[in-house]
């Protein structure tokens, strides 16, 4: 028996991207530090090439490799976001690595390999391919977190992330064995086709699903699996933190959406409540714990926890509208978070990185444009109309309210209404610390000015992300994004 050769074509972006990463690894290995500039530039270019390939690919739903790998509009949308996030963090990292004497070409190569893992996660159509994609991504990220190995904090961040990440992987694998043991299959399609009424031992399947989802919720750092986030974000080198806050979260959310809306769609009433609870806890804890933070990287960590809470609220709706709101929110989150981190990366004084909120004092005098950009990001993260962040929250709340209107039971409907109301309240509370930063920038007595120049890459990222955040609500920006997100959500739920 000779099996047919699998259809490699639909994985073309991943294959080309992984190949480019290997070529760049060779260039970096032989060129050592001299090749750093070349490898960084080519890595960013590889991200662009992969984005083009994803965009040019046929977007009809197709599977390959015996059903382990799937391509659809949802995967295309998510891959573009992830590649954008990784590309931006490579561009942002160049200046930092040069100043910190960390010029080792493995850095961009590891980001590329992690991105390959994320793309595989997004296209996973089986629990086994889910796991290998997740591990490829995580392993590269553990190394990146401790890349600044001579500082204790970076080593600590890497170790903490590794140990807790390994624990999460273990939980996920245990859940996977339960799912396989009780259903006999790991394929998302076959799991979705199982009907609970057909005598499947449902309790075992529920526990398995909960454990697999817990492993993924750890990766998106939602409460109650968020403890690692502030420490890892604070300790990791700042460009790595910028990367952590964006690309891996998008990939893990994509996986969670595909898993819950696809494989476990028949169990929607079981997971809906749990995701709703996790969403409320994340919004609340992310919003309140950020208030006492004085380190801007820790503050961004809590901010990202809160943002994940809003994203999960859209997922909890369990509808096509809900998925669409998640997709729109992720695109907005990508740009405003990358922009905020680009500003944080310009915070240097006397050649040292500074990361306390008080170091921003007087930014409005020394760097008025940068101060303006940071103001835009903070207002957007807080959800002030008409900036991008407001639109994202609007979509999520709309999806939640709509899910409440169509909920099966009155209790569930009330839960959705309460969650949406709480979300809106918490976003007002979280405005406090975003406004606090703006107050420090504009009103506090100026501290010593930050070093100049910021570097062309960083300035470019700040410019692009500011424009996107400012102009998102204009029809010609928001229209295509929402249209594409809508098509992507449809491809997943039909």
């Amino acid at each position: 028996m000779i099996a047919a050769i699998p259809e490699f074509g639909i994985a073309l972006p991943e294959i080309v991207f992984a190949g480019l990463a290997l070529v760049l690894l060779m260039i970096g290995t032989f060129g050592k530090e001299r090749s750093m500039g070349l490898v960084t530039a080519l890595s960013a270019a590889s991200c662009l090439v992969a984005i083009l390939l994803v965009l040019l690919m046929d977007t009809a739903t197709a599977t390959s490799f015996e059903g382990l790998f799937i391509v659809d509009k949802f995967a295309g949308y998510m891959k573009v976001l992830v590649l954008l996030g990784s590309g931006l963090s490579i561009v942002m990292s160049a200046g930092y690595l040069q100043r910190e004497k960390l010029q080792r070409p493995e850095f961009p190569v590891l980001i590329l390999l992690a991105t390959v893992g994320m793309m595989l996660m997004i296209s996973a159509n089986d629990i086994i391919s889910l796991y290998v994609g997740l591990e490829l991504q995580s392993l590269a990220l553990y190394v990146l977190a401790s890349f600044h190995r001579d500082t204790i904090r970076s080593a600590e961040a890497g170790l903490k992330y590794f140990v807790l990440g390994a624990l999460a992987s273990g939980v996920l694998l245990y859940g996977a064995t339960l799912v396989y043991g009780f259903t006999g299959t790991t394929s998302f399609e076959k799991l979705a086709a199982l009907h609970p009424a057909e005598g499947v031992q449902t309790v075992g399947l529920w526990v398995g699903m909960a454990l697999v989802a817990s492993g993924l919720i750890f990766k998106v750092s939602a409460v109650p699996f968020h403890m690692w986030t502030p420490d890892v974000y604070e300790g990791a080198p700042t460009p790595v933190t910028a990367m952590f806050a964006v690309a891996p979260k998008i990939a893990a959310v994509a996986l969670l959406v595909r898993l819950l809306m696809g494989a476990f769609a028949p169990l929607v009433h079981q997971w809906q409540v749990a995701i709703l609870a996790i969403s409320i806890m994340s919004m609340a804890w992310g919003g309140y714990a950020a208030i006492v933070q004085r380190n801007i990287k820790r503050l961004m960590a809590y901010s990202s926890i809160a943002n994940v809470g809003y994203i999960l609220l859209g997922l909890a709706a369990g509808t096509e509208r809900g998925v669409e709101s998640v997709l729109v929110y992720l695109a907005i989150y990508l740009f405003m978070t990358a922009g905020a981190f680009a500003v944080i990366l310009t915070m240097r004084r006397d050649g040292q990185m500074v990361e306390y909120l008080s170091d921003l004092a007087g930014l409005s005098h020394s760097r008025p444009l940068l101060a303006l950009a940071m103001t835009v990001f903070m207002f957007s993260l807080g959800g002030i109309p008409p900036l991008a962040g407001f639109i994202g929250k609007l979509y999520v709340f709309q999806a939640a309210l709509e899910a409440g209107n169509h909920a099966a039971t009155a209790g569930m409907a009330n839960a959705f209404y309460i969650a949406a109301g709480l979300g809106a309240t918490i976003s007002v509370v979280s405005m406090f610390y975003y406004l606090w930063i703006i107050k420090i920038i504009y009103m506090d007595p100026p501290a010593a000015p930050l070093d100049r120049p910021a570097g062309a890459g960083l300035s470019g990222v700040v410019l692009v992300t500011t424009l996107f955040t400012l102009l998102f609500s204009l029809t010609f920006v928001v229209g295509p994004v929402v249209g594409w997100a809508d098509a992507a959500a449809q491809s997943l739920t039909h």
Binding site: M1, E66, L110, L194, G199
Partner: protein
């Protein structure tokens, strides 16, 4: 008949050598008994018709893991009698764990693992009949054909692990003498030797 005899021989030697692994006072003997246990387990696998697993057991566990154990035991200076001192304090707990595991095993065997009702067609990879295909071939088809994609990604994961280990641990120390073979064999006598005339009784001239 022969199979039954072989089964009992393999099982008896396996259990006996497993006991000896724990109780022999010399650590090297423990490892050697472990190897004996592996060989007998491989024999049991062959009796079951799983020759591929048997070969893997011998190649990987005896060939690599046990040899690694031997290295560790012989190279590290560990006083095992010192380690055994606390054994009486931990013994009750160990026995308790053993009993729990044993009860679970009994449950598994007598209660019976119920195959998932949706099994059969939904099974990811149902075991083929031994009469149709040898199990080495069946495993090969599963790993390298059916799960080709996962196999390749596993390769990438190992590559990342390798890069990571090097990135995090490799340090270039200055002043380390390295072999540069071409430089060494291209050395000329004129570069490395000076011939001086030494007159007798005057001692070595100053360089």
């Amino acid at each position: 008949m022969i199979e039954t005899i072989a089964f009992y021989i393999f099982s008896a030697v396996l259990v006996a050598s497993a006991i000896m692994v724990v109780f022999s006072s010399n650590a090297v003997h423990s490892v050697l008994f472990l190897i004996l246990a592996f060989f007998n387990a491989a024999g049991l696998f062959i009796l079951l018709g799983a020759e591929f697993v048997a070969m893997i057991l011998v190649i990987v566990y005896v060939g690599a893991v046990a040899v690694l154990f031997l290295f560790v035991v012989m190279m590290l200076d560990i006083n095992f009698s010192e380690l055994r001192k606390g054994i009486n304090t931990y013994m009750p707990f160990g026995i308790f764990l053993g009993i729990v595991l044993f009860i679970e095993l009994v449950f598994l065997v007598f209660q019976g693992w119920v195959a998932p009702p949706s099994g059969g067609p939904a099974l990811a990879a149902p075991a083929p009949m031994l009469t149709e295909i040898s199990n080495t071939r069946a495993l090969g088809q599963l790993i390298y054909t059916h799960y080709l994609y996962v196999f390749q990604v596993a390769g990438l994961i190992l590559l990342v692990a390798m890069i990571g280990a090097i990135v995090l641990t490799l340090r270039h120390r200055p002043g380390v003498q390295r072999q540069r073979i071409s430089v060494q064999i291209n050395r000329k006598r004129s570069e490395s030797m000076v011939i001086r005339q030494v007159s007798s009784g005057a001692g070595a001239p100053k360089l």
